[in-house]
């Protein structure tokens, strides 16, 4: 299939302060129907979207964190998180939710979708994609 394009969704905003995080997730879910090569990038405050343990009860807003873990069902297998962005914020990979997908080429083995990459690698990932959607 030569018409498959590499889509990269770049997330730079914290989850609750603005609507960007939720909007991005919705677009990813909708876009998944088009069977393109989809990857997610989390840089700057976007990394806060993946920090586990949300309890939004007192805020009175929907907790959409579990929806991130459904992305494996939607064939999203590449979730790039920038190491420098985590470090600046005092975070490590252990602070993040688990995101997995089932690898068709490896007897449907469950594998982690999250890949911690350097700022330099992130720049290369952006350069290498066909379409970038920014949130």
């Amino acid at each position: 299939m030569s018409d498959v394009k590499k889509f990269l969704y770049v997330n730079r905003k914290a989850p609750h302060g603005t609507i960007y995080a939720w909007e991005s997730l919705e677009v990813v879910l909708i876009g998944a129907a088009f069977e393109q090569d989809v990857a997610l990038a989390f840089v700057d405050d976007g990394v806060f979207q993946l920090v586990k343990g949300w309890d939004t009860g007192e805020l009175g807003v929907k907790n959409f964190q579990p929806s991130f873990t459904a992305l494996g069902d939607y064939d999203v297998q590449k979730v790039y998180v920038e190491r420098e962005a985590l470090e600046e914020r005092g975070l490590t990979e252990g602070d993040l939710i688990e995101m997995t997908y089932e690898d068709e080429d490896d007897d449907w083995a469950e594998k982690s979708s999250i890949r911690i990459v350097s700022r330099e690698e992130m720049a290369a990932i952006m350069a290498d994609s066909d379409v970038i959607l920014s949130f």
Partner: protein, 110 residues
């Protein structure tokens, strides 16, 4: 716009999706199904319950492709396929079954 269940009214939008997800009940599901011209059988309930569990876990109603894949994983290929699901819910399994299950319309479903 509202459904009537045991003398109680439950609000829904112009497409028939209930507006307050917590107002769902099995009795309401039967009422919505009737409005959709569907007689609820055990097989219908299996899909509806599955959708509710999926929503409970992930907070989203799955797209049809995801529903098929997940059904296949849980119930096997004889139930996890488009034909089976469309026979149960002729106007679109994700759309119609979600409505009966009291969930929002699946994201990306027009």
């Amino acid at each position: 716009m509202a459904y009537e269940v045991n003398g109680k009214t439950v609000e829904h939008d112009e497409e028939g999706y209930i507006t307050n997800l917590s107002e769902w009940s099995k009795e309401l599901a039967e009422v919505i199904a009737k409005a959709e011209n569907i007689d609820m059988t055990e097989e219908h309930w299996e899909v509806v319950n599955f959708l509710r569990e999926y929503y409970d876990e992930y907070q989203i109603a799955p797209a049809i492709r995801v529903l098929v894949k997940a059904m296949k994983k849980k119930f096997g290929p004889e139930k996890g396929n488009n034909k089976y699901l469309y026979e149960l819910f002729p106007y679109g399994p994700a759309k119609q079954a979600c409505k009966i299950a009291g969930l929002p319309k699946p994201t990306g479903c027009v």
